[in-house]
Subunit: 228 residues, 2 copies
């Protein structure tokens, strides 16, 4: 595939996430496939009982995923509470996705991929890329969360640890964490159903210095759709 086909976005220091919401209030037309451009983030309002499907369009892309209670964003999807609630490291189809108030706020309906997702690594951020040697601004998932929320009129009060869809960072028996390419394939999708009104944010992770978005280290777009 060429870079054009992959829609890699550009690492030019300009990230339009702040100015390109899916709609001013974050409500999209239901049933349309909506693009998360490479290296960018998008937020969407998901009403109770609606489902959201996130698509790994090109198969090698990690998508950071957050969910906030629309009525009270101090409640949010929390990896550390979810692991305790499930007594399991990674959620799988059939599970609830658990908030910091220890209740399911999404139901994990379906996963066409092998189920390799990460719950233990922070979203990449300015400090991460400084540590990797970047001197100029590098797109990052934390800023994408902030900007995607701002774009629909909301502000991130804190930055929860994300559910890193398709991120393949296994913890080995000796405790070492490896940074590996996804094992997903093009078109793989996960589907979640909202159990309450939510604000969802997603970032097509711009990591291009560590092979979590594939050995070619070329971040790509992802897509999502809502069903009522």
């Amino acid at each position: 595939m060429t870079a054009d086909v992959l829609d890699q976005g550009e690492a030019d220091g300009h990230n339009p996430t702040r100015d390109e919401p899916i709609s001013p209030d974050g409500r999209p037309p239901s049933g349309d496939l909506i693009r998360i451009p490479a290296r960018q983030g998008r937020a969407v309002r998901l009403l109770a009982d609606e489902t959201i499907t996130i698509v790994n369009t090109h198969g090698t892309q990690v998508c950071d995923f957050w969910a906030f209670n629309a009525a009270d964003p101090r409640e949010y999807l929390s990896m550390e509470h979810m692991r305790a609630y499930l007594s399991r490291f990674t959620p799988q189809a059939g599970d609830g996705l658990i908030s910091n108030r220890r209740r399911p706020i999404l139901h994990f309906v379906e996963d066409s991929s092998p189920g390799v997702h990460d719950t233990c690594i922070a979203a990449c951020d300015h400090h991460r890329y400084l540590g990797l040697g970047c001197r100029d601004y590098h797109d990052n998932c934390t800023d994408n969360l902030r900007m995607a929320l701002l774009a629909i009129g909301l502000r991130a009060r804190e930055i929860p640890s994300p559910l890193n869809l398709w991120m393949n960072t296994p913890v080995r028996g000796d405790g070492r964490i490896e940074w590996l390419p996804p094992v997903s394939k093009p078109g793989d999708r996960v589907t979640f159903r909202a159990l309450t009104d939510l604000v969802i944010a997603m970032s097509a992770c711009p990591q291009d210095l560590v092979p979590i978005n594939g050995l070619a280290m070329r971040p790509t777009e992802a897509h999502f759709e809502l069903l009522g």
Copy 2:
């Protein structure tokens, strides 16, 4: 050991953490062994280059541990950033303890125990004990953090996921998390050296419905000391 010797505290709905700081400003006499009563929390100001040693007095007690930058508490010890920085699930002697700005804020100097600590489970809280069937107030580490900070005049802006010293909740190969008693022994201690001025909070975890504080499910006191 009898319950008296163990100093189990009392599950009577009254937790004096808010009213019994180690001192009004959180600075203790250096070199004194300070008690964290069973089921309670304590906060202490630790200056750069000082060390803090936390003692598992009776050997079976989990101690939740938090650290905040004294000059800017928006920076704090962060499990999800630490795991990424270290590429390791659990820190060990010789490591830095990493903040959400991806820098070491403590140096892990020494560990007399087998090194089994948890980084992936949220502090217990009101919702946790509701889920375990409690109807009345149950002491919990999250409230202990809040109250221990209030006791020295500070407020918790958010509740980071704690470093759970001596908590033995291994992640099995199939992703299952087990809730097991500590493998530490009476008097085991960990020592950290501050790399900047910090506020430290600790909670002698009051969990008595799951055997993480020993098969007897009797939470006990812990101790700590500062060295200049």
